[in-house]
Symmetry: C2
Subunit: 298 residues, 2 copies
């Protein structure tokens, strides 16, 4: 499309408008400029194309034969551009775009999407799974859910859930355990990228200073959970990560000792912006579903 470099797009638009509307006056009105401006652009565009598009008559501009062919094609082109712009400017309130961490999506949210559709048939959910923090003011996302300390500049963070961690393992492994300290003798499954360590739990369990028998280190929390479900050892998990596996009986949380990590799940939205109804609806639904999950830990 390099040939478009040799002519000004505004000039082509002026040609098209005059061709379709029949006069400089009418074209100037549609383009929102003066008659002189349109006249100049038409003259210049004809010069750049080295082609006479209009014959000037006392009654107005008449298309030449070659001009009619060009103008028909220009009309089609600008009609497409106009439609494209209208499409981009139209705000489709039925789509809610959320951004969540992949592990949160896979281990908690995905099992509940059917219920969201039941509760909100008028909202189409679009999920963007990424670990990066997003600023809804700067991208297409309506709302994000992230785990962290919530102290993010530039965005509004609203606490959803304080993160608590607790050891999880298979029921058969748990049968052999008599004391919380017995957990430390099991092979430990470590998430190399976790923002916390076993220390926070040991303190809560009165086992400060104890050591672990490290067995497996993974770089993905989801893989760690899969390893625990497979009976490879014990993992320090948190509510949204392990909730479904606990509910299904694949894993158990021996002794029920939980420790707060100091981090939390936060809703992330744009600062200083009035939240649309669909965002408020989504938050309310998430809170209700999270309350259901927390019943597991009472």
């Amino acid at each position: 499309m390099r040939n478009l470099n040799s002519v000004h797009l505004n000039g082509l638009r002026a040609l098209e408008a005059v061709g379709r509307l029949g006069s400089l006056q009418a074209a100037a009105e549609e383009l929102g400029v003066s008659i002189g401006a349109v006249s100049q652009q038409v003259i210049k565009a004809e010069a750049q194309l080295d082609r006479t598009i209009f014959e000037r008559t006392p009654k107005g501009m008449l298309k030449t034969e070659a001009g009619a062919v060009l103008l028909a094609a220009l009309n089609e082109g600008f009609a497409h551009l106009s439609r494209a712009v209208a499409l981009a400017q139209r705000r489709d309130d039925s789509i809610l775009t959320i951004s969540v961490a992949p592990v949160f999506a896979a281990r908690w949210l995905v099992y509940r999407l059917d219920r969201f559709a039941e509760h909100h048939p008028d909202i189409n959910l679009r999920m963007d799974a990424t670990m990066k923090l997003v600023d809804p003011a700067l991208c297409d996302v309506d709302i994000g859910i992230r785990v962290g300390d919530g102290r993010w500049p530039d965005v509004k963070a609203e606490l959803l859930l304080e993160q608590e961690v607790f050891p999880v393992c298979t029921p058969s492994m748990a049968e052999r355990l008599r004391d919380p300290a017995d957990l430390l003798a099991l092979p430990a499954i470590i998430d190399g990228r976790a923002m916390f360590s076993w220390d926070v739990w040991m303190r809560a369990a009165g086992l400060e200073g104890a050591t672990l028998e490290t067995r497996h280190v993974f770089n993905d929390a989801s893989l760690c959970l899969d390893a625990a479900i497979a009976g490879q050892g014990v993992m320090l998990a948190w509510q949204t990560l392990a909730g479904y596996a606990l509910q299904q009986g694949q894993l158990v949380a021996p002794f029920g000792i939980r420790a707060r990590t100091g981090f939390g799940h936060y809703f992330v939205t744009a600062q200083g912006v009035r939240e649309p109804k669909k965002v408020r609806d989504f938050k309310a639904w998430i809170r209700a579903e999270m309350a259901e999950t927390l019943k597991l830990f009472i």
Copy 2:
């Protein structure tokens, strides 16, 4: 299409190029500007549309979902514009556009077009019939044929035929004539817009100072000829006007006295321009046909 007023066309083009080519670098190359220029335009266009079209990644620009929809429509629009411009810039050497006076077209040229097609099957003739002098440098016309003194500034005039006038009337009217002076007794058919008068012929016939019996005045030479063919009187005609009617026997030129008007048929072309082959071919063909016409007057 007023919605296009709210966004810069150059910005839409930048969006489309980046979307199609995948990077600012590639788009800058196609648009013939710097990377910074494209970056600015993309950012500004996204702001004007109030829509994120691209997600910035270390590996380049990735379309958002909404962006993909917009870019597809933009691509179609600009493809049409590109095609339109290519069409306009293509010089179709097979079309020869000529501009002639309507009377010349109707009374001389139109009868010969079949022979032109025979001689030059590769040339498509397009005839623009107007009495206005044209400057081929300023419009879509390749060559014009006009009658006048040839002293036109700004164009190149090349003599084709000195104009000669002579009385014409029906054969039955001519039967009653014994002397050139008898012509003046017939009803005269006058072209009110002719550039000459009967005086030029009377001088050539040795009838200087004689008077006419004016009967009909028309404002169109073609109508005058029709009236003469209808037996309404005698008309002072010229070669290209009356040639066909003479050849067909509808009219005769009694006594064969012809007077030069001082005007001529001229080829009109753009000054200082090397003539394309099709123009040279056309001129040669016209000269050959004109020689055929002149055989009537030997």
